[in-house]
Every structure is written in structure tokens, then in C-alpha cells.
Amino acid sequence: MNAIEISNLKRQFKTTIGVIKRQTKEVVAVDGISFDIHAGELFGLLGPNGAGKTTTIKMLTTLLIPSSGTATIMGLDVVKDAEKIRPRIGFIFGGERGLYWRLSGLDNLRYFATLYYVDANVAKKKIPELIELVGLKGREKEKVEGYSRGMRQRLHIARALLHDPEVLFLDEPTMGLDPVGAREMRMTIRDLQSAKKTILLTTHYMFEADALCERIAVINKGKIIALNTPEKLKHTVQDLSVVEIEIFGIPPGFLEKVRKLEFVDSVVVETHNQRQILLVHTPKGSSAISDIVEALNGLRLGKIVTREPTLEDAYVHLVGGQL
């Protein structure tokens, strides 16, 4: 049985340009996407910034009305049945917003328990349990403004679980967390998966999607460009190798020279302080190194390594190296 069914879902936004001669421009954030999520599945939605992930989640959580297409949650339409859907879903959006900072964590949970019509006696038991689950025990009476980013994220999780929803939407739940906080959050998500919740998770972190999700949809420029299990997505790049080149400063034009090499599939630059790592995806493997080095002639190069592709490389390959 499918918990979520999406068919040709589209969402446009209007923006205005200019002051005197105002022009209205339409931006397509989500462009006719379709996919289903089975009940109890942990499904990942991956994509670069502005790909349409948050817009998709906002339509599914009834906070935005689609421009066209349909989406159902547990068989209920997100537009017509919004009021019936809300008690059955929980959502968290990445970041620290969406909480009352001048109130304590406990007061935030008490308020939202009331708004979700959680019975007062049930809430009395449930709130301390959730505070313990998300590791805020002992800090719950402090104001949220004094919490760390990780604590706020965890409070969001507790808020989303107050009414024991069947379906959870987690939009970049580990965004901005330190490694320990992110790992704890992933463990919490795993526990929710064990509790048979249907979860739609968006993330930028490939290893996170790889470790958690049963299936992943890759979204770019509003369109689903791949949908499969993490293993099968990795197979899309099994014929490619990744050449990693350490460089100390890349002037304009050099990147284009590498991209234009006929055996290069895609190129990504990762910046680490003073140095950059150039990731070149190519079917030629280590035999491509000499041509790439020649294209970078004149630059100061460091370590050069050839390795097997990961899920992240599959993702880069799919979105065309536009990270």
C-alpha cells in the first residue's frame, strides 16, 4: 500500500522584477514530478539548493497549493482534504525557525500538543518521554533562545512526534548540526523507521541518504531525474572512475578546459580553505590523469588520486556536476 502518491505535481511562483516598469516572471520550482512512497518506507529526496525539495514537502504538508497535478497522503488529497491530513502527519523544516524562542522547550511542546488535540493526560506522559528521546532532559525548562542549533533541531523532532503521526516529512533535519549531533539525529530517524513510520527525508548528504533510505529520488531543476535504491543508483556510474586532484588556486577558464576534454563526464570543485579538490568523473580512470594535468598546466598541483565512485559521485553525475 502506498502512503504517499504524487502524480504530475507542479508548482510555479510569481516574482516581480523592476521598480517602475514592473514585470511579472514565473519560476517553476517543481515541474511535473511523479512518485509513490510505500507505507513504512524511508524515502530520500536528494537535490541541490533550489531543486524543489522544500517546495515538494510544503505541498505534501498542505502548506502550499500545487499549481497542477495531484498528491495524496494515506489516500487523502493534499488540497481538498488538508484538514483531515494534518492530524496524521508530522513535519520539520531544516534550520532553527518554527519554534517560540522566548518560551521554554517544555512550553513549546505543551502548546503544540494542545494544537494537535493531544489529550491532556496523554500529553503529560508523552512530553517527558519525547524530551528524553531527543536528549533534552534537564534543559526543557530553559528558553529555546539559549539552546544550541542541535538542541533546537531535536526539539523540532519532539514537536513533530507529539501526536504520533503516521507519516513524517523531514526536510534537511541534520542541516547545520555538528558530527555528533548529526549522528544522534540519524539514530533517531532509524528508530522512527523501526517504528514503521513512513518517512520522506530530504538531505544534501549522500552518505546519510545511503545509510538511511530504502529508495532515493534525485530532483534537479524541479524534475525527478532518477529514482532507485542507493545500490542501483551507484550502478549508474559503475563505468566511471573519479580522479581527485588537489590544486592551490584555480583561475577562471581552467575548469572549462577540463570540462571540454572529450573523456570527461563531469567536474566538481570542493573548496577546503586555501586549496581546492577537483573531482573529475571519467571512464578512462588513471589514464586520463596526464591529459587533465596538461589542461591544468601552470597551476600548482598537489596529490592526485583515482578511486571508485560513491553514491555522491552518482548524484554529481546525475545533476551534471552542478554542485
Partner: protein
């Protein structure tokens, strides 16, 4: 049905409590509740110290009502704006509770705290200055005060919907302040205004609240006229609250189409 009503009352009570708790930690709001009414009360009574007590009570009631309207417009309006900026407006809309009921609780909190602070301030200053404020019909005045809360809450729920619908509505906040003072006859009778404005005054519930309060404080209205004011006040406030159901459905649909529930779209 009983369970549903209980649930709604819990949401109102909790929204009321949360709004009060937030206000008590906001220096700007605290200034508006405690210090500003003291300054206004002191100034008003100082200016009137040589006039008769009848005139004084008119001004005191009138200026307290202007204070209530300002509190409603700014505290309740800014509260919605604050929710949008904090990202909580979206979180509230995503809950099964009606946003209209949540706003009702918030507006009720803002009106109650402003009313209590103004009654306290005027009483304190008049005692300090040795200037007794005499009420012609105290029981009628008390009932009128309770109904005034109802009138302002009904009006506030409608006004708050505009802040939900239009993210830039704050720009119009100041321009809305004085027309309502004038049209509702807070500080001078609406008979001084052009005749075409009278129907507008009549459909504003705070006008009937001002009429009942002024009438019962000064004794200038017959008892049956006070009753009429109460009936009209209850009628229009009920119309606002019932009508706001359809209004909020439209406003929320529009906000979900235009993506205005959050500052980030």
C-alpha cells in the same frame, strides 16, 4: 461535539497563555502595557484638572479605548508578523487547530492585558492626583467593559486576517490607527463627522462599545439606549466572529497559493 468544543476551548486558553508569556518577556510590549498608559493617563488627567469630572471621565474612557485599539492593532498585528518571521505561522497552519481559533486566543490575551493595565493606570493616577473618577452607572459600566472585550476581539480577529493575507500590511498599520479612533467616536461624538461616515461607524463593533462605555460612565444615555448599544455590539461582534470562518478559509487558501505563510516562501 462536547469533545470538539472542549478541544477548541483548550486551544483558546493555551494560545491566550502563550501570547501573555511571550508578551511578558518582550520589553517593547511591556513598555506599551505598563509605562505608556501611565504617561497617557497622567497627561490626560493633568490637562483636565481644572475641568469638571464629567468631562474627565469622557476623556479617560476615550483615551483608554484609543489605547485598546492601538494595542490591538500593534500587538496583535505584530504578533502575526512575528509568527511569520519566526517561521511559526506555517507551523501553526500545519496543525489540525483552526488558525482563527488560535488568533482569537492571541487577540483576547492582548485585549485583556491592555484593558487591565489601563484600568490600573487610570485608577492609580487619579488616586495620586486626588482626582476621583466617578461613574454614573457603575454596574452598566462594568458590563459594558466585558462586552467591549468581546467587541474588540471580534474586530481583532478580522484585522489579524489582513496581516496573514498581506505580508506588507504593517505599512498600513499607522494609517489605520486614527480613522478607527475617529469613526468609533472614542474621543468625540460621531455627530461631528460628515453624515456619510455614520453608516461606517454603525457597522464597527468598537463604536457601540464606546457608546455604551461613554453612556454608562457619564449617564448621558437612557438605560434602553445602553441596552441597544449592547445588542448592536453583540450582534456585530458575533457577525465578525461567524463571518471570520469563511474569511479565514479564503485568506488561508490565498496564502497557500501565494506562498505568504513564511518569509522564505
Amino acid at each position: 461535539m462536547v469533545k470538539k468544543i472542549k478541544g477548541i476551548l483548550r486551544v483558546i486558553r493555551m494560545s491566550f497563555e502563550i501570547e501573555l508569556r511571550q508578551n511578558l518577556t518582550d520589553g517593547f510590549v511591556l513598555f506599551g502595557i505598563v509605562i505608556q498608559p501611565l504617561i497617557v493617563a497622567f497627561t490626560a488627567l493633568w490637562m483636565l484638572k481644572d475641568k469638571g469630572p464629567d468631562y474627565a471621565i469622557f476623556i479617560v474612557v476615550g483615551s483608554a479605548m484609543t489605547g485598546l485599539w492601538t494595542a490591538l492593532l500593534f500587538n496583535s498585528g505584530n504578533s502575526i508578523i512575528g509568527e511569520r518571521w519566526a517561521g511559526t505561522l506555517e507551523t501553526l497552519v500545519g496543525t489540525p487547530s483552526s488558525l482563527r481559533v488560535i488568533v482569537f486566543g492571541k487577540v483576547l490575551a492582548n485585549i485583556t492585558q491592555s484593558l487591565l493595565s489601563m484600568i490600573g493606570c487610570y485608577t492609580l493616577i487619579s488616586l495620586v492626583m486626588g482626582y476621583p473618577l466617578t461613574l454614573s452607572r457603575p454596574i452598566f459600566f462594568l458590563i459594558s467593559i466585558l462586552l467591549t472585550v468581546f467587541a474588540f476581539v471580534g474586530f481583532g480577529v478580522i484585522i489579524a486576517s489582513l496581516f496573514i493575507l498581506i505580508p506588507d500590511f504593517q505599512r498600513l498599520q499607522n494609517t489605520l490607527e486614527f480613522p478607527v479612533y475617529i469613526l468609533c467616536g472614542f474621543l468625540f461624538p460621531i455627530a461631528l463627522l460628515p453624515g456619510w461616515t455614520t453608516p461606517i461607524s454603525y457597522i464597527l463593533s468598537p463604536y457601540w462599545a464606546a457608546r455604551a462605555l461613554h453612556g454608562s460612565a457619564l449617564g448621558a444615555l437612557e438605560i434602553n439606549q445602553i441596552y441597544i448599544s449592547w445588542v448592536m455590539l453583540i450582534f456585530f461582534s458575533a457577525v465578525y466572529i461567524i463571518g471570520s470562518s469563511a474569511l479565514y478559509r479564503l485568506v488561508l487558501k490565498r496564502a497557500r497559493v501565494d506562498a505568504t505563510l513564511n518569509t522564505t516562501g
